[in-house]
């Protein structure tokens, strides 16, 4: 009986789990291994004797050095970081206030407004960049970090607002009622009670917003033209694919280094982030 159960657990739990993990992580593994593989191994065929397609026999840092020396990668990294942080900051602040208002204040048209904000999130960026390009040009922001810092919030604010609105709704309204009786104004109750309680939700919104800005491609491609203004996703693709030549090693090294900050951010806040998404505050 016990043995049968163990066997079943392997079949129905561990095996699918393992398959899932391999499936999810393999691209990352491939990226990492390619980043450290020397060029002669990279471009050799698998049928060659001693070929080792799944690992490398001569790990090298040549792509790292190449990336740092021949491209503006450190600048891209810095650009991406600064833009993602500012865009996330703007969006979080707006999202917190808007989300609170939509969750708590009853005013004429509040539901319509909530839906309208959500709909703006559904407008694809591939459509939105055309009018936005016009605005960016009129404001003479093209090819400056502000072009992205101010356009990313167009999709981040609706996103943060909705995520936070949902989170604020799970916080019992008695908490702020009590604070208001205790002597806080509505604004004071929001800032002193609701926001601190909503930290898991705010952090999840922040992480999501940060990741979305970090990985954003279309706006960055269109609004930034000079190499020293580019972000990692655009820089890597536009500078390391020359014509029909792919610099695979450097591409993968760039992608690897580009994903590290996001991974670090996630790992720091993973607990908050899970509570943030599953919600619920107990009084």
């Amino acid at each position: 009986m016990l043995i049968e159960r163990k066997w079943k657990k392997w079949l129905y739990f561990y095996l699918p789990m393992a398959a899932f993990i391999v499936f999810t992580l393999f691209p990352f593994y491939w990226m990492a291994i390619t980043a450290f593989r020397p060029d002669n191994e990279l471009y050799a065929t698998w049928r060659q004797p001693n070929a080792a397609p799944l690992w490398t026999l001569h790990p090298t840092l040549e792509h790292f050095v190449g990336l740092m020396k021949t491209t503006a990668f450190p600048t891209w990294l810095w650009n991406t970081m600064a833009i993602a942080m500012v865009a996330t900051g703007i969006s979080l602040v707006c999202g917190m206030f808007a989300g609170y208002a939509l969750a708590r204040l009853k005013f004429r048209g509040s539901e319509f407004l909530g839906t309208a904000i959500f709909i703006t999130y559904l407008v694809p960026q591939t459509l939105l960049f055309i009018p936005l390009a016009d605005i960016v040009r009129d404001l003479q922001l093209g090819n400056t970090p502000w072009a992205l810092m101010l356009t990313y919030p167009t999709f981040l604010i609706p996103f943060c607002t909705w995520l936070l609105m949902g989170y604020f709704k799970t916080i019992p309204k008695e908490l702020e009622e009590c604070a208001r009786i205790d002597g806080a104004t509505r604004f004071g109750a929001m800032v002193r009670i609701i926001f601190p309680v909503a930290i898991p939700g705010i952090l999840s919104a922040g992480i999501f917003a940060f990741t979305l800005s970090w990985n954003e491609f279309i706006y960055a491609l269109i609004f930034m033209s000079s190499a020293d203004q580019k972000t990692v996703p655009v820089g890597v693709v536009s500078e390391l694919i020359r014509g029909d030549i792919f610099f695979w090693g450097q591409l993968m090294m760039g992608a690897l280094l580009g994903s590290v900050p996001v991974a670090i951010v996630y790992s720091f806040f993973v607990e908050y982030y899970v509570t943030g998404l599953t919600g619920s505050v107990k009084g």
């Binding site: 019992p172 604070a179 009786i181 205790d182 002597g183 806080a184 009670i193």
Partner: protein, 355 residues
């Protein structure tokens, strides 16, 4: 310390629901008043209007001499205990209790003194450094009460504060609240749907239904002289038995299987139908001298130790009698019961008002 005066208070929500209708109440200084009624009766809405958490549609609320209709909650000098305690989850017990004082700019030493005083009073000194999630339900309840008393407000408002506790703890906290009120001598308004809580805690009890006040009175007054059938049925457990009877010209009320003489004041209703109300304890096992007795068959016997509840049918409706624990009765026994003529209630069959 303050009185609370409520005049012609109304609350109508935007969707047209009229939650509170023409409520008038005069709450005396230091008085403990309980608002009781079934859910949706408007008791909580009334309390929230006093707190300033709900806008008033029409009418006036005064705390002391001041009209507070337009005052924000923070300026009303009240404290409220919520059903779910509403403790700030990110603050320690100490900070929870200190928050109201901090907001009002008290000095640090003063805050410390007041919080410790209140914590002593409630026996929660050892919990001061904990977070709410590390507390049991009863402890949270105490902290919520503590947070209310540190500020020495003019009025305490309680919104079903004991509903989330288990039965045993509820009884214990009930006694503590009563003791606390005696000690603090602060005007208190307490909302509950539990009539036992209402009767045990209130100096006076306000029974509400459908947004209207049905009766205001001391607990025993409500029990002994209910103003209408609703109050009679709501107060008391097991509930009062009701049966429709017709009044004959000879001053005798009857319905199938029941016959009893009615008091003088009911005789003028001869030829009409009225509702007779009998509390379970106003029924007893008949002895030979009882005139208004009837015979019935016991459906269910509920021995509770200090008393026995007998369930039976009479006059075509199910009824309950509360009898002495010494009485030996089994299911399906035929028994003879008598009404206590001094403790009969009569209600108008249409308006349900007491006669």
């Amino acid at each position: 310390m303050a009185t609370v005066t409520i005049r012609d208070l109304n609350k109508k929500y935007e969707n047209g629901f009229h939650a509170v209708k023409d409520v008038n109440l005069e709450i005396r200084d230091k008085e403990f008043v309980v608002l009781v009624g079934p859910s949706g009766c408007g008791k909580t809405t009334t309390l929230r209007m006093v707190a300033g958490l709900e806008e008033i549609t029409s009418g006036e609320i005064r705390i002391g001499e001041q009209v507070v209709n337009e005052l924000p909650p923070m300026d009303r000098n009240i404290a409220m205990v919520f059903q779910n305690y509403a403790l700030y989850p990110h603050k320690t017990v100490f900070d929870n209790m200190a928050f109201g004082l901090q907001m009002r700019g008290y000095a640090k030493a003063d805050i410390d003194k007041r919080v410790r005083e209140a914590a002593d009073m409630l026996g929660i000194q050892v919990l001061l450094e904990r977070k709410p999630r590390q507390l049991s339900g009863g402890q949270r309840q105490r902290v919520a009460v503590g947070r209310a008393i540190v500020r020495h407000p003019q009025v305490f408002l309680f919104d079903e504060p004991l509903s989330n506790l288990d039965a045993q703890l509820r009884v214990q906290m009930r006694v503590e609240l009563k003791r606390l009120h005696k000690r603090l001598e602060t005007t208190a308004i307490y909302v509950t749907h539990d009539q036992v809580e209402a009767m045990t805690l209130g100096d006076r009890v306000v029974v509400m239904k459908d947004g209207r006040v049905q009766q205001v009175g001391e607990p025993l007054e409500l029990y002994g002289r209910p103003a209408n059938k609703f109050v009679a049925s709501f107060i008391g457990s097991p509930a009062m038995n009701f049966v429709e009877v017709s009044i004959g010209g000879d001053g005798v009320a009857q319905t199938e299987g029941l016959r009893l003489r009615v008091p003088e004041r009911i005789r003028s209703r001869s030829g009409q139908r009225v509702t007779l109300g009998v509390r379970p304890e106003a029924l007893r096992i008949a002895n030979g001298s009882d005139q208004d007795s009837f015979t019935t068959t016991v459906d269910v016997v509920e021995p509770l130790g200090n008393e026995i509840l007998l369930n039976f049918r009479a006059g075509g409706v199910p009824m309950v009698a509360r009898v002495d624990p010494g009485v030996r009765v089994k299911m399906n026994d035929s028994i003879q019961l008598a009404f206590d003529p001094q403790r009969l209630h009569f209600f108008d069959a249409q308006s349900e008002a007491a006669l």
